[in-house]
């Protein structure tokens, strides 16, 4: 039960982080999880049980698309890349997040 709750809390944010991590270049699943960890300076650890379902979900929504390619160590890997719709969605989600976090900060800063 608790795992499920965490997943639901994370879902919206995780989508945003995935979109953000591939906004410059296509990336495979492992790369995305590493990238999120690095970007958050090792604070955020994405669980694979959430990551892969999220990737498939985003792909079904048409925000990202996937293609099989060759990885840096010459192995076949599935790469994910942002679509135009995904690009726009990233903008929307970032703006929402900024509004929400500044609001929360305001609340926490008060009194």
């Amino acid at each position: 039960m608790t795992a499920k709750e965490r997943l639901e809390l994370l879902q919206g944010t995780l989508d945003m982080l995935i979109l953000k991590s591939i906004c410059h270049a296509p990336m495979h699943g492992f790369g995305i999880s590493v990238r999120i960890r690095q970007m958050s300076q090792e604070v955020l650890q994405v669980e694979q049980g959430s990551l892969y379902p999220a990737l498939y979900r985003l792909e079904n929504r048409g925000w990202i698309k996937s293609e099989w390619g060759v990885s840096d160590n010459n192995r076949r890997a599935k790469f994910y890349e942002l679509t135009n719709v995904g690009q726009k969605q990233l903008g929307v989600e970032t703006a929402n997040w900024e509004r929400l976090s500044s609001a929360i900060n305001l609340v926490l800063a008060t009194g």
């Binding site: 492992f30 049980g49 048409g62 192995r75």
Partner: protein, 900 residues
């Protein structure tokens, strides 16, 4: 667009393996990369690999998560679920067959009733925008019949003033006898105003409607239906303008053949419309086609108060509601009453939507049956749901294992609902098959007068209904057991072997609710059918007032207008006396109208010496024309005075100086004294007086449930009829004499039209067809509901016993006796059914008002019926709990304790 390709590829089963393979590759790549990273951090290969797998988490969970996330996968999932469900169901065929049969019967019956409701109540009548059509008659609050016809002058005035209707036409039913010189053919049709066709949207295949002058002169112009045009005139293309010979209507003074000109062929077959007043009996039904139309009779201002002939049909203007139209017609009626106080005082128009009038007789019965079948379906659902709950318990370990190896819980619920939907679809298919057969069976004993009975069939709409009902039932039945099965605690279940205690408690509670509900709904059905059975018995118990066995009826109709009136009488007298000489026939007579199929011919009565009453407040008396010997043949008891003598038949046509009245007439008008010698007149106060010479017992000419009404009998010789019903008392079963009688009648008059050749017992039995229909169907539904509830009850108690084996074992080890254990379990079962009965009692009382209109001689809240129905259910459910509890208590304590 690659994602779209993926969707298409993935939604088909064939690429399922490909999808899974790619997912495996992707996840494998992830683990490999993690392993490499770990090696870089200094681990050896084996440790690095192990660590990578640990970091990755459960592969199967990830896979399941991905499958859930790819929304489109549901199609292939559905396919997989279905395959799996079928396998699981095949593994327990007894359960599957039970559930499919229970659901199949319930869905089949629901579909059957639906197909009747649709064809009879929902499908529009075959007229353009038939929901905007209204039938208008009149009523007078001071008089008995709720609705009578309208006079032609009234209809003309209504049409002139009413703004609610775009058009209004007048019509009445009638017969004509077509003749080709050799034989005659009786055809049934309508007298109509010329706008009738346009008003109802009936096109013309050939020709036209009546012209203005044809209507004004009531000319000999005919419009025929296509069927008659085909069968009698071989679809002759230039038939318009042809003349045909017709024996004219009896009301016309002339007799013999007259020439009629065909002016058109109607392009659409239409049924007879319900009429506000039916002086000709029920020969013109909504299931019969109109064969001809002829112009309405001549307009006569003097006929303003003659309301026994016509009915108006009108089309509502767009946007006008039936209530607005009613209000306007009330206003117009009161204006007319001011203008013509003599004819119209207290008379008001009654506006009824055509659809409502057509179905008014059968609608309450069908609504009742719809409710009953919905109840039966509910009980079947509850039954299958509790079966599924029990089955869910047996499968606890299977679920727990599947969850442990990574199946999502949502996925499990879906799997279970798929199973129940599959069951219901199979049930629905069985139901659809059953309904094909059921419809024929139900139609067999459906009342003959039900409109459009022939149109009831299983078509695409009915099949869609069955499919929709199955899917809904599947969801309904499956959701609760699935949620209860989902309430499992993986570790606990794996360990305890399926008897998680809190989950078991909530399951038991839900099963008690389901079974209690079944008992409640079942009580409603049992009470309803119990009441209907008693009501039916009460109707059958009504004394019709004559001896019904060994009595045969045959309605004989002479070509109208072929002979002078006098001849009709002579014909009838000769025929009956000839019949009396036939071996096997004890007596014969005749009457106008088949008993129990009322023909209304009422007139106000003026009793000599009674205080003055305004004309329209006069009580009515029903007039009946009989041949000599009627009372003897029917064995109607003579209470006072004498029966008819030959001298009574001598006089001027249209006036009988000596008459016989029935008991009700004598009691109502001459209470406490002898009616013999009393004088009165009918129709008008200044008509010739009649004298009562005899009083006979009441005869139920109308439906058996009707109250007896005042009636007087006339000798036929003074009121000659071209149509009469022979009454033949036979010494052998009446069926054996029918052929002989028919030959005799045809020998006497080759042009005769014979209808309704039946034994009186058949006539009576047919007159109860609606009541029998209702009582049979409802009893069948109740019986089904009863069986389901009792078996459901048995199932729940058996489950409770199996859950408590250990407890029972301990109790018995501590010295409890078998009877005390049985008592404990049975009393729990009784608690469930007791609560169900209390709810059912409240429900029965709340619903009793819907049944009351269908009952005769018993109240819908009859306490005895309620008590008996509740008692039967209580005893049956007690027995149902007794069996499993005895079985449970017989188990030896040692084996019960060991088995846990």
């Amino acid at each position: 667009m690659s994602w779209l390709r993926n969707i298409v590829a993935r939604s088909t089963g064939s690429s399922d393996a490909e999808f899974e393979g790619q997912l495996d590759d992707e996840l494998q790549f992830h683990v490999d990369r993690q392993t490499e990273e770990n090696i870089k951090c200094g681990m050896d290969r084996a440790t690095a690999r192990r660590e990578a797998l640990r970091q990755f988490g459960g592969v199967e969970q990830v896979r399941e998560g991905v499958r859930d996330a790819s929304r489109i996968v549901w199609l292939s999932d559905l396919f997989r679920d279905t395959k799996f469900s079928l396998r699981m169901l095949a593994r327990s065929p007894a359960f599957a067959v039970t559930a499919v049969v229970v659901l199949g019967v319930a869905i089949g019956l629901s579909t059957t009733i639906f197909s009747f409701v649709r064809a009879i109540l929902i499908e529009p009548l075959p007229f353009a925008n038939s929901e905007r059509l209204a039938v208008i008659g009149t009523f007078n609050s001071n008089r008995e019949p709720p609705m009578t016809g309208a006079s032609w002058p009234d209809i003309v005035d209504w049409k002139k003033s009413a703004k609610s209707f775009s058009d209004m036409a007048a019509f009445k039913n009638g017969d004509m006898d077509l003749s080709d010189g050799k034989s005659t053919q009786r055809i049934r049709g309508l007298f109509v105003t010329r706008n009738f066709f346009e008003l109802l949207g009936i096109p013309f295949s050939l020709g036209r409607s009546f012209s203005e002058s044809e209507e004004n002169d009531s000319a000999n112009a005919l419009i025929l239906n296509r069927e008659l045009w085909k069968s009698r005139y071989q679809q002759k293309p230039d038939i318009v303008g042809d003349s045909v010979d017709v024996y004219s209507w009896i009301i016309r003074p002339e007799h013999g053949l007259s020439r009629w000109q065909i002016v058109g062929i109607a392009g659409q077959e239409i049924p007879f419309l319900p009429v506000a007043v039916d002086a000709l009996g029920d020969r013109f039904g909504i299931n019969d086609q109109v064969q001809f139309w002829r112009p309405i009779g001549l307009y006569d201002e003097a006929e303003r108060k003659e309301r026994w002939e016509y009915t108006a049909i009108a089309r509502l203007n767009p946007g006008v509601t039936i209530e607005q139209a009613r209000a306007e017609m009330v206003t117009i009626s009161s204006h007319l009453a001011d203008e013509y106080p003599e004819a119209n005082n207290n008379w008001s128009a009654r506006v009824t939507p055509l659809n409502e009038l057509v179905t008014s007789d059968i609608r309450p019965a069908l609504q009742l049956l719809s409710g009953a079948v919905a109840f039966l379906l509910l009980i079947a659902c509850a039954n299958v749901a509790s079966l599924l709950i029990v089955r869910g318990i047996a499968r606890q370990q299977e679920f727990a294992v599947r969850i442990a190896v990574g199946a999502g819980r949502w996925r499990l619920i879906r799997q279970l609902i798929t199973e129940s939907i599959l069951l219901c679809l199979a049930g629905g298919a069985l139901g659809a098959l059953l309904s094909v057969w059921c419809i024929d069976a139900v139609r067999l004993f459906a009342p003959t007068k039900v409109p459009r009975l022939g149109e009831v069939s299983v078509d695409s709409t009915v099949l869609m209904f069955a499919l929709g009902l199955s899917l809904m039932t599947g969801l309904f039945v499956g959701i609760l057991p699935a949620c209860l099965a989902f309430r499992t605690d993986v570790n606990g279940t794996l360990k305890s072997g399926g008897r998680g205690s809190s989950a078991a408690r909530s399951r038991k509670r839900w099963m008690a609710i389901l079974v209690g509900g079944e008992v409640a709904v079942c009580l409603v059905l049992l009470t309803g059918s119990g009441l209907l059975i008693q009501s039916f018995a009460a109707i059958i118990g009504v004394d019709p007032g004559f001896r019904t066995d060994n009595l045969m009826t045959m309605t004989v109709s002479l070509p109208q207008g072929k002979y002078e009136w006098k001849h009709n009488t002579e014909f009838c007298v000769e025929l009956t006396s000839k019949l009396r000489t036939v071996p096997g026939i004890a007596a014969a007579s005749a009457v106008r109208g088949v008993p129990t199929r009322e023909t209304n011919f009422d007139a106000p009565v003026f009793i000599d010496g009674a205080p003055e009453i305004p004309r329209d407040e006069r009580p009515d008396v029903r007039l009946r024309v009989v041949e000599p010997g009627f009372f003897e043949v029917m064995e109607v008891p003579l209470l006072e005075g004498r029966l008819f003598e030959p001298a009574d038949s001598i006089g001027n046509i249209g006036h009988a100086p000596q008459i016989i009245c029935n008991e009700t007439m004598a009691r109502r008008h001459w209470p406490g004294e002898s009616a013999i010698g009393k004088k009165f007149c009918v129709v008008e106060a200044d008509y010739d007086k009649m004298e009562v010479v005899g009083v006979v017992g009441d005869v139920q000419f109308g439906a058996l449930v009707d109250e007896a009404r005042p009636e007087i009998y006339y000798p036929e010789a003074l009121f000659p009829q071209s149509e009469f019903t022979l009454l033949v008392r036979t010494e052998v079963p009446p069926e054996q004499m029918m052929g002989v009688v028919e030959t005799l009648v045809r020998d006497a008059e080759p042009d005769v039209v014979i209808t309704d050749t039946e034994s009186m017992d058949t006539v009576l039995s047919k007159s109860l067809s609606k009541e029998r229909f209702l009582v049979l169907l409802l009893s069948a539904f109740s019986l089904g509901a009863f069986l389901l509830s009792v078996t459901g009850h048995y199932g729940v108690v058996a489950y409770a016993v199996s859950q408590r084996r250990q407890e029972i074992g301990i109790r018995m080890a501590l010295g409890a006796t078998v009877p005390s254990i049985v008592r404990m379990i049975v009393s729990e079962g009784l608690l469930i059914s007791g609560m169900g009965l209390v709810v059912g009692l409240c429900l029965s009382l709340a619903l009793s008002q819907f049944l009351q209109s269908q009952l005769f001689g018993i109240s819908a809240a009859d306490p005895l019926t309620l008590a008996i129905a509740a008692g039967v259910l209580l005893v049956a459910t007690s027995l149902a709990s007794l069996i499993p509890s005895i079985r449970g208590a017989r188990v030896s304590p040692a084996s019960a304790l060991r088995s846990s």
